[in-house]
């Protein structure tokens, strides 16, 4: 393997800037690596190299989740209904990366319209986990996590609505950051649940996550909910955690966590203490209702957002005798099972007679969850949990039970509802329940809104102490 593939993004940027390696050589090396995709992680791969734009990401290829519009390049959100769609414009997040000197390496597979936690809901087939091809990479940004974890891209971007960056990052042994809602523009990012959707980086380490976030964040006139991060984002630097207070939710629900994941989580708490950090339990009584609130709010917003796919202006259309039949058939044929389920759930929750009981109540639970966090952050710097209750599970293991699949998001959904930033870093390996080779375990750290720099600094210090260096295939002998 070329040693260029071993470099982190920050290292590659430095080597390119110093003239040690050429942009063309670096991009071509990654293009070849991406060409060896045996994980079904890419839906499209670039043929051209990166341009000559100068900037903090000069010469860096980035894998982009297929939910971001890219001018002239097919963008489907892994849905049949958008097959063949070539957007007339490029998402702000992708444009910002280009302005920083980066180039799109490819578009990555995902759960259809970002609805899923295993990448099994893609219309173009599931993505495989680079650590074990019989297991899922997580979702919905499964392709973006798999290409970074599997050495098919140096870095990627994805979207996180209820854990769709953090959970796949955890299952693929990489870093995934969901920034504060509003940190990055959503313009050109195909909408799932607009009050929750947020773009973020998936990278090999925390430094690279900061580098990408610095380029991505900022106010955008095309998204009036975008505000950016005041003062920008600098490379993380912190050697200890002295004086920092870490809260563990008192209602963590230890029983639902796989023993191997629990062991890594507890070892990581010890490591935090070893670095001088303080650990204490804090009540977050409403976090356990996160799944309930989320699976009302997100489908409700989705049912409204996805009304636009009607076979009139873009995407696919089914032939039919009249216009209503055309809508109904186009949508029946174009959407996959999970998307239909969520449209149905959301439409039901918003329908006359049920609105107050479901959507109205869920929005109030959202307030309570946000208040719980606000109270916690009055005393603590961070809230920590495992990112996912289990390591990567087997393909097909949870596809027959939607609720069991939704429970994967137990630890990641509350932060999304509260709009606060959270990062998952690889913290160790654990044997899956039922045995088998060891798989990565993510550790999640959440901070107050717009406290990304402090979050990245602490995650960096912890990352250095953990020294996670395992790679897929290490254990295969």
């Amino acid at each position: 393997m070329s040693e260029l593939l071993e470099l982190t993004v920050a290292q590659a940027v430095a080597r390119i800037a110093a003239g040690d390696i050429s942009r063309a050589e670096y991009f071509e090396t990654w293009r070849e690596a991406a060409g060896g995709d045996d994980l079904n992680a890419y839906l499209w791969r670039a043929e051209d190299g990166v341009g000559e734009v100068e900037g903090p990401l000069a010469g860096i290829p980035v894998a982009v989740k297929d939910i971001f519009c890219t001018e002239g390049v097919e963008t489907t959100a892994a849905s049949r209904i958008l097959e063949g769609y070539r957007p007339p414009y490029t998402a702000t997040a992708v444009r910002r990366l280009a302005e920083a000197g980066a180039g799109v390496l490819g578009k990555t597979n995902m759960d259809e319209f970002a609805m899923g936690s295993s990448n099994e809901n893609s219309a173009f087939g599931p993505v495989r986990n680079p650590w074990d091809r019989e297991r899922v990479p997580g979702g919905s940004s499964g392709g973006s996590a798999a290409v970074v974890g599997g050495g098919l891209a140096p870095c990627a971007i994805g979207t996180d609505t209820g854990g769709s960056i953090r959970q796949p990052a955890s299952l693929c042994g990489i870093v995934g950051l969901k920034p504060t809602y509003g940190a990055i523009s959503r313009y050109g990012m195909i909408a799932f649940a607009s009050s929750l959707d947020q773009c973020g980086p998936l990278t090999r380490d925390v430094t690279d996550a900061a580098l990408l976030l610095a380029a991505l964040q900022g106010r955008d006139p095309c998204d009036s909910t975008s505000v950016g991060i005041e003062g920008g984002v600098a490379a993380p630097s912190r050697e200890d955690l002295a004086g920092l207070r870490f809260a563990v939710p008192a209602e963590l629900g230890h029983d639902a966590i796989e023993p191997g994941v629990r062991a890594v989580f507890e070892a990581t708490l010890k490591r935090i203490e070893g670095l001088g950090g303080e650990i204490a339990e804090v009540p977050l009584p409403h976090a356990e209702h996160g799944i309930s609130a989320y699976y009302v709010i997100a489908p409700a917003e989705a049912s409204s957002n996805l009304a636009r796919y009607d076979g009139v202006r873009y995407g696919t259309r089914a032939e039919a005798g009249d216009v209503i039949e055309m809508y109904e058939t186009t949508r029946a044929e174009g959407f996959g099972e999970e998307v239909k389920r969520r449209i149905m759930l959301g439409t039901y929750a918003l329908s006359s007679g049920y609105y107050d009981a479901y959507y109205g109540r869920a929005q109030k639970v959202r307030t309570k969850i946000a208040e719980d966090y606000a109270a916690a952050f009055a005393e603590f710097d961070f809230v920590v949990t495992p990112t996912s209750p289990s390591v990567a599970f087997r393909l097909g293991e949870k596809t027959d039970d939607p609720l069991a699949m939704y429970m994967n998001d137990f630890f990641t959904v509350p932060m999304s509802l509260a709009g606060i930033p959270a990062i998952s870093i690889p913290a160790g390996l654990a044997e899956p329940e039922g045995g088998g080779p060891q798989l990565p375990v993510g550790f999640q750290i959440a901070a107050a809104a717009f406290a990304e720099q402090r979050l990245l600094n602490a995650a960096y210090a912890l990352e250095q102490a953990i020294g996670f260096e395992a790679r897929p295939g290490d254990g295969d002998g």
Binding site: P88, T180, Y181, G182, S195, P221, S224, T225, V227, H286, H289, I291, S292, A293, Y295, S303, D310, G311, V312, R313, Y314, G315, T316, R317, A320, G321, D322, I324, E325, M326, Y327, E328, T329, R331, A332, F335, K340, R341, I343, M344, L345, T347, Y348, S351, A357, Y358, R361, A362, Q363, K364, V365, T367, K368, A370, P402, L403, Y406, L417, G419, A449
Partner: protein, 95 residues
């Protein structure tokens, strides 16, 4: 518990045609999910204001300046059935 009739009603609202087997399955799955969601019914939320947006924002305004929009042909390029510079759809009522 979601009944079959409710599934059909909601599917009509959502403009989704469901097959016979899908209707049955959807009724069971939605019931299971809503049974879990119903736990938030036990919380006392009377005085709690709803949250629709997590970041506090004042009205975001910009100058109302005319800008060029996309040319009609660029937009119509993605349409399944463009005709006479417009989006053509089947008749609202089948003959």
């Amino acid at each position: 518990m979601i009944e079959r009739e409710q599934v059909l009603h909601v599917a009509r609202l959502a403009r989704l045609r469901l097959g016979e087997a899908e209707v049955e399955r959807m009724a069971g799955e939605l019931s299971g999910i809503l049974e879990h969601v119903d736990r938030i019914g036990e919380l006392d939320l009377d005085e709690v204001p709803p949250t629709s947006h997590v970041v506090e924002l004042e009205n975001v305004l910009r100058p109302d300046e005319p800008r060029p929009s996309w040319p009609r042909d660029v937009v119509l390029e993605q349409a399944p059935d463009p005709a006479d510079g417009a989006f053509r759809v089947p008749s609202p009522r089948a003959d």
